[in-house]
Structures are given as structure tokens and as C-alpha cells.
């Protein structure tokens, strides 16, 4: 065991120290962990968030640029034709939709790809082996996804300011809906990541489930454009409420009641949290 070195100024002032006597030797007793491993939860959250931020070009800049491209091509394709959607000017409709789209997609990707990567590289043992309960793991991953999604959403909103220069109508609700959407998709990404055995599986979930559901839930068009039968199905889908809620937060107009939206999202997050907790508790595909 190496004793910690004394700080340099102590050396210059009092001559050579007589031996590591400036700090007490670290205690070898087991750390007492209460009902919640706060340090562990914080460490898991921060580790994964920093991993996301380290590749910010892929996790923040690229989604923001893609949203700008979408806005640009829609504006150019629309040209001089005027279009109102759900009572909003088309830009005021599209920009919040794109922000919500980025939040949802980023929330899913951050957990899904991280879990698959860790599983394939064998690094998942770092999480499983740590003194974290299943509940703490689920919470750590979901919070990380939500924060990562909000940061990307914020960057996207700033990048889209040239298309819709307006102060958000309801910033508090906007943040709440983005947070709920990030949590929800982070948990879905966790389920997908745990289930997937290889990259193919998770990218299939992404291309064939997540992207189609998000695209068709009101990012680019109001649901009244859909045939009535499909519309009813779409309105059962919590993703629709996230998009609609984010639109309410930015543009101040929504198709659904924001409180209903929050209730649906809260219910979805709770159910998904329970599912993830069950999966991690049982060691599904993680433990023999």
C-alpha cells in the first residue's frame, strides 16, 4: 500500500516528511451502503453520460444537423405554397416536431447501443459486478438517456432557431415532456439492448420499429391527415403525446390535452421501468 504523498508546499516548508504521516491510511472496512447506493447511481449515470458526450459529433451535432436538413428540405419543397397544420403555421408545427423527434431517437439510441456494445465487449460485467441493485441500474440508465436526449434536443432547438425564432411558450412543460420522452425511450432502448444479441438485432429494432413509429406519430404532419382507423391507433401511442407535448411547450398549441399527455407518458414510463427492473432482476440474457 503506497501512502499518499504530502503536498509539495508542505515539503518545502518543513523539510523532508518523516513518512506518509500527513493523511491517515485509507480505511479497509467495507463501505456502508444505505437503502440507496447514491455514489454508485451517480457513477453509473455520469459514466454513461460522459461516454455519450465524448462522441458529441455523432450524438449531438449529427442529429441537430439532420433536423436542420429536414427543416430546409420541407421549407424548400413547400416553396411559396402556404400550409397550416393543426392551426399552426407549418414552421411552427415542424420545428417542435423535429426537436421531439431528436429527443426520442437519441433517448433510444443512448441506452440501446451502449448496452449492446458493453455486452459484445464483455464490459457489461462492470455494471453487473458493481454493488448496484436492479432498480438503481434501471434508474441510472434511464436518467442518463433522458439527460442525453435533452442536451441533443436543446442543441437541435438552437440550430433550428433560423426557422422558428420564438421563445418557447411553456418552457416548464417543454422540459417535462422532453424529460418524459427521453426516459421512456431510454427504457425502451434498455429493453431492446438487453434483448439484442448482436448489432443486427438492435439496428433492426431501430429501423423497423422505432423510426417508423416516431415518424408516423406526428413529427411532420398532424394526425388528422391519417385515415380514421390508423388515427385511433396512433392516439393510443405514448410517442404521439411526447411530440404533441413538446409542440405545446414550444409553439403553445396542442391537439391533445397536455395533462392527459403527461399522465399517459408517466404510465408508460412506470410500466417500462417495472419491465426493465424485472429483466435486470432476473438477469435476462446477462447472467447464466
Amino acid at each position: 500500500m503506497t501512502p499518499r504523498r504530502a503536498p509539495p508546499e508542505a515539503v518545502s516548508q518543513s523539510g523532508p516528511p518523516s513518512g506518509g504521516n500527513t493523511t491517515p491510511a485509507p480505511s479497509l472496512r467495507a463501505r456502508h451502503i444505505g437503502w440507496l447506493n447514491r455514489i454508485g447511481l451517480w457513477t453509473l449515470f455520469l459514466r454513461d453520460l460522459l461516454r455519450d458526450l465524448e462522441i458529441w459529433k455523432i450524438t449531438i451535432a449529427a442529429p441537430a444537423l439532420q433536423a436542420v436538413l429536414f427543416a430546409l428540405i420541407f421549407e424548400l419543397a413547400l416553396g411559396s405554397a402556404s400550409l397550416t397544420m393543426a392551426g399552426l403555421d407549418f414552421s411552427a408545427f415542424l420545428v417542435p416536431g423535429l426537436v421531439a423527434f431528436v429527443v426520442l431517437e437519441r433517448g433510444f439510441e443512448s441506452t440501446a447501443y451502449m448496452i449492446v456494445y458493453d455486452k459484445l465487449e464483455g464490459m457489461i460485467t462492470d455494471v453487473i459486478g458493481a454493488p448496484l441493485t436492479a432498480a438503481e441500474m434501471v434508474t441510472g440508465f434511464a436518467l442518463m438517456a433522458a439527460v442525453s436526449a435533452i442536451m441533443t434536443g436543446l442543441a437541435t432547438w438552437l440550430a433550428l432557431l433560423p426557422f422558428l425564432a420564438a421563445v418557447p411558450a411553456a418552457p416548464g412543460l417543454l422540459l417535462l415532456f422532453a424529460f418524459g420522452g427521453g426516459l421512456m425511450m431510454g427504457l425502451i432502448g434498455l429493453v431492446g439492448g438487453l434483448w439484442a444479441d448482436k448489432w443486427d438485432h438492435i439496428s433492426a429494432v431501430h429501423s423497423f420499429v422505432v423510426v417508423p413509429v416516431v415518424y408516423m406519430s406526428g413529427v411532420f404532419f398532424s394526425l388528422d391527415r391519417l385515415p380514421p382507423e390508423i388515427r385511433t391507433v396512433a392516439q393510443l401511442n405514448p410517442v404521439y403525446y411526447v411530440i404533441d407535448g413538446v409542440r405545446y411547450g414550444i409553439s403553445g398549441s396542442a391537439e391533445a390535452d397536455p395533462q392527459t399527455g403527461l399522465a399517459v407518458i408517466a404510465a408508460a414510463v412506470t410500466a417500462l421501468w417495472m419491465l426493465c427492473w424485472r429483466l435486470l432482476e432476473s438477469g435476462y440474457k446477462l447472467k447464466p
Binding site: 462522441i55 459529433k57 455523432i58 451535432a61 449529427a62 444537423l65 439532420q66 436538413l69 430546409l72 428540405i73 420541407f74 424548400l76 419543397a77 413547400l78 416553396g79 405554397a81 402556404s82 400550409l83 397544420m85 407549418f90 448489432w199 443486427d200 439496428s203 433492426a204 429501423s207 423497423f208 423510426v211 417508423p212 415518424y215 408516423m216 413529427v219 411532420f220 404532419f221 391527415r225 391519417l226
Partner: protein
């Protein structure tokens, strides 16, 4: 005395080696066809749905062509070029990162044969994705064909161009991040903004003249001309531009392989 077989004589072209390289490149993406063919097809059909649902009522006609019929060829072209690029780029970067690039550098293949084999692999992926996407769209948008020669020429020339660009990118990139950056910040913007979704007559005059210096514009416009018979420029000019660009890019790739740039010590 000599029992061992004589070495295989290789003529001017190593046909067997070239064919083997090509088949290896094609099997590489066919092994993950859900990711490399089905996924882009679904995404492209979603784009068609989203644009038709969002703008269908406001934009009925572009250049005298119904909006969906205008959009469909552009989207097919976008899917083709993105996948042709992704194929050669990811093939080379994965080989370099994993170290199995020696498997293509060591065999008796000349730089020209390497260029052709890998480029045709990427072109094939572009064409297969294009065909799959086109078949999917046909169910929703009943479009006709005005001139099949233009359709085939631009499908091939554009896929080849992006396969060659992907090869240059793949040789240059040292890790996946580099490739992702090129895809996200160069290829996607070009594929999106070069007339896939709108006629360039919509652009301000300055950007319109800029578009005429952009090969992506000619490939999309020429391909669309093959279907609709309507164009923003002279059709034969597009053909000339594509032939020139493809030749230049092939020469660059060939030079890179000759020099061993980032491939040989």
C-alpha cells in the same frame, strides 16, 4: 522430377481474383441484408409517406409532375447513393480496423483490379437497394418510365460514383468516427439538398448556379428525367458530367492503391 503444380499463369487481367474480390464484397452485405437492403428500403418508403402526408395537399405539382411522382425517383436515387457509399466505406474501414485488409492487399491483384472489384461491389449494393425501393414504391405511386436508358445509366453511374467516393473515404479514415463524420456532414447533406425533394428552380439564383456545379444534382435530375421526362437541365450534359466524374474518381482510387496511401507502410 517436379511433382508440385506449376503456379497459375495470370494474363493481363486476373479474372479469377477480380471475380473473387467482387463476390466477397457482395456477400459481405448480403449476409446482413436486413440492415443493408431492407432497412434503407423501409426508411425511404417512410420518407415518401411522410412527405406525401405533410405536403401532399399544399404542393400538388412540381414542374408539371404530380408531387409523389416527382418525389419517388429522387428518393430512390438518394437511397442508392447513400448505400453505395456506405458499402465501400464500411468494407474498407472495418477491414482496416480489424486488420483483415491484408486479405485484399496480399493476393495477386493489381491496383486497377482492386479499384474495379471493390467499386462494383458497392455499385451492386446501390442497384439492389434501388430496385427494392422502386418495387416498394410502385405499390403506392404508379409512375411510368419515359426513357429506360437514362434510368439505367444514372442508376449505375451514380452508384459507381458514390462507391468510388466511399472507397476514397474508407482509405483515408482511420476509425469509424471519421467515416461517420463524412457520412453525416458531407454525403447526407449533398443527398438531401441536391434536388431530391424539390426542383432547384425553387432555390435563389446564386444557389441555383451552385447546384449546376454539383454532380449530385445531375444524377438526381437525370434519373428523374428517365421516369418523368421532365428535367431542370440538358439531359446529355448530365451524362457527360457523370462519365467525367466517375473516370476522375476511379483514377484517384487507382493512384491511392498504387501509392499504398494509409494502406502500406
Amino acid at each position: 522430377m517436379t511433382d508440385y503444380p506449376a503456379p497459375r499463369r495470370i494474363g493481363a487481367v486476373n479474372w479469377l481474383g477480380l471475380w473473387t474480390l467482387y463476390v466477397k464484397e457482395v456477400r459481405r452485405f448480403m449476409a446482413v441484408a436486413t440492415q443493408t437492403i431492407a432497412a434503407p428500403m423501409v426508411t425511404t418508403l417512410l420518407f415518401l409517406a411522410v412527405f406525401s402526408l405533410a405536403l401532399g395537399r399544399a404542393v400538388e405539382v412540381v414542374n408539371g409532375v404530380p408531387f409523389a411522382e416527382f418525389l419517388a425517383p429522387g428518393l430512390v436515387m438518394m437511397a442508392m447513393v447513400q448505400n453505395a457509399f456506405a458499402n465501400t466505406a464500411s468494407s474498407l474501414v472495418i477491414s482496416k480496423v480489424q486488420g483483415n485488409i491484408v486479405d485484399i492487399l496480399m493476393p495477386p491483384l493489381s491496383p486497377a483490379e482492386l479499384t474495379i472489384g471493390i467499386a462494383l461491389g458497392g455499385t451492386t449494393r446501390g442497384l439492389i437497394v434501388g430496385l427494392a425501393t422502386l418495387a416498394g414504391m410502385w405499390m403506392f405511386v404508379p409512375f411510368g418510365i419515359h426513357n429506360v436508358v437514362f434510368v439505367l445509366f444514372h442508376a449505375f453511374a451514380a452508384s459507381l460514383m458514390l462507391a468510388l467516393l466511399g472507397m476514397i473515404g474508407g482509405i483515408w479514415a482511420e476509425k469509424f468516427d471519421h467515416m461517420a463524420a463524412v457520412t453525416n456532414f458531407v454525403i447526407t447533406p449533398f443527398a438531401f439538398l441536391s434536388g431530391t425533394f424539390y426542383s432547384i428552380q425553387r432555390l435563389p439564383a446564386f444557389f441555383q448556379s451552385l447546384a449546376h456545379a454539383n454532380p449530385f444534382f445531375y444524377m438526381i435530375d437525370g434519373f428523374r428525367y428517365g421516369f418523368t421526362g421532365v428535367t431542370d437541365t440538358a439531359p446529355m450534359l448530365g451524362v457527360a458530367v457523370m462519365v467525367t466524374i466517375d473516370t476522375l474518381l476511379a483514377l484517384i482510387c487507382w493512384r491511392l492503391f498504387v501509392a499504398g496511401y494509409k494502406l502500406k507502410a
